[in-house]
Amino acid sequence: MSTDFYQTAILPYAPIIIKICRAYTDTQEDFEDYYQEVCLQIWRSKDNFQEQSKWSTWVYRISLNVCLTLLKKRKRKQEYTDFKAASHKAVVGNRAFENEEINQLYDAIKRLSEVDRAVILLFLEERSYQEIADILGTNPNNIGVRVKRIKERLKKILDGKTH
């Protein structure tokens, strides 16, 4: 990968990649693996990018696809272990960000299903419903309802934690 490509096409979007990868990983090691894989996939698929959408949309789409695929692979590997117990332990012990509120929010997001995580991340990144639907390849009509439901669920989780 040329340094130029990394500097101009990936690095400015690193915050997006970081936010997404953090939502799908529990450890720093996994996070770094996912981050690298996302960068690699962005570089690999750069020729497929058609300028019908924004580059940032492309980055979101690849980041989510890579994270979901890696997560699926990892789950398959862990199917004989007590996955739930292991992941819960890791989530509680993981403090990736300086601010405690955002760490708690991430803990709550990680309790959602993989797709709900993607929806809420994109919503929080102020993507339109149409854009969220485009990125996830779904119908934009039910995104709003889904966001509302996810927000309620997150609120319940967060309130449960604080009280």
Partner: protein, 214 residues
């Protein structure tokens, strides 16, 4: 939590959180190791399958009263497994301490050399296995007498050499030569069936790494 999640999201990320990006490098360390492990694992499974097959063939041949042919086929399979293992030992000597690109390149090269050497042995293996199978069909149990009787009954003018029909000998001889001639291609097809996807992935990864390093 009092604040709406949108506010937390907007306000809470610090500069450090999002600017401290993981260092890129050693992209392929894990992938290289996984690929190499996969080839080794497949080879091991294939080896076990060959040994099991040799034993099963021997037992089956004993049941159909062709113990000699069974013993020869089993010996051929075990000999091939032994030779392949010897070749693969060289692959195991590739030092994983090298950079992932060097490691994969060397692994691929050693693998190609090992397969090329196997191909020399295969030139003899396939024809010999074919001849053994033909021998089993002819000599197993009471087959020789039954087949000779049926053939002479159907084709009274059939010429026999050493108790075997000449036309059959010619056909088997011809097929044996063809198998020997095409053994390389048969072997490549055989290897492709078992390792094809992994080898493809290995070569794609190497090509990817070369492009990355450009």
């Amino acid at each position: 939590m009092e604040k709406p999640i949108e506010t937390i999201w907007k306000e809470a990320f610090s500069e450090r959180d999002l600017k401290e990006v993981p260092r890129l490098g050693n992209f392929y360390d894990q992938e290289s190791q996984q690929l190499v492990d996969k080839v080794k694992r497949k080879f091991k499974n294939n080896l076990v399958a060959t040994v099991v097959m040799a034993i099963v063939i021997l037992i089956v041949h004993m049941f159909i009263e062709a113990a000699w042919q069974g013993a020869i086929a089993a010996a051929l399979l075990l000999g091939l497994a032994w030779y392949s293992t010897r070749q693969m030992r060289r692959v195991h000597t590739v030092n994983p301490g090298l950079g992932s690109y060097q490691y994969l390149r060397l692994f691929d090269q050693t693998l190609r050399e090992a397969l090329a050497k196997n191909m020399i042995v295969i030139r003899f293996f396939y024809p010999l296995i074919f001849l053994t199978s033909m021998s089993t069909i002819w000599y197993a149990g009471n087959n020789e007498a039954i087949l000779t009787g049926k053939l002479t009954e159907t084709f009274p003018d059939l010429l026999f050499v050493g108790g075997l029909p000449l036309i059959g000998l010619i056909a088997v001889g011809g097929i044996t030569v063809l198998i020997a001639y095409f053994s390389g291609r048969i072997y490549k097809w055989d290897v492709g069936l078992i390792y094809g996807r992994t080898f493809k992935k290995l070569r794609e990864t190497i090509a990817d790494m070369e492009q990355l390093n450009e």
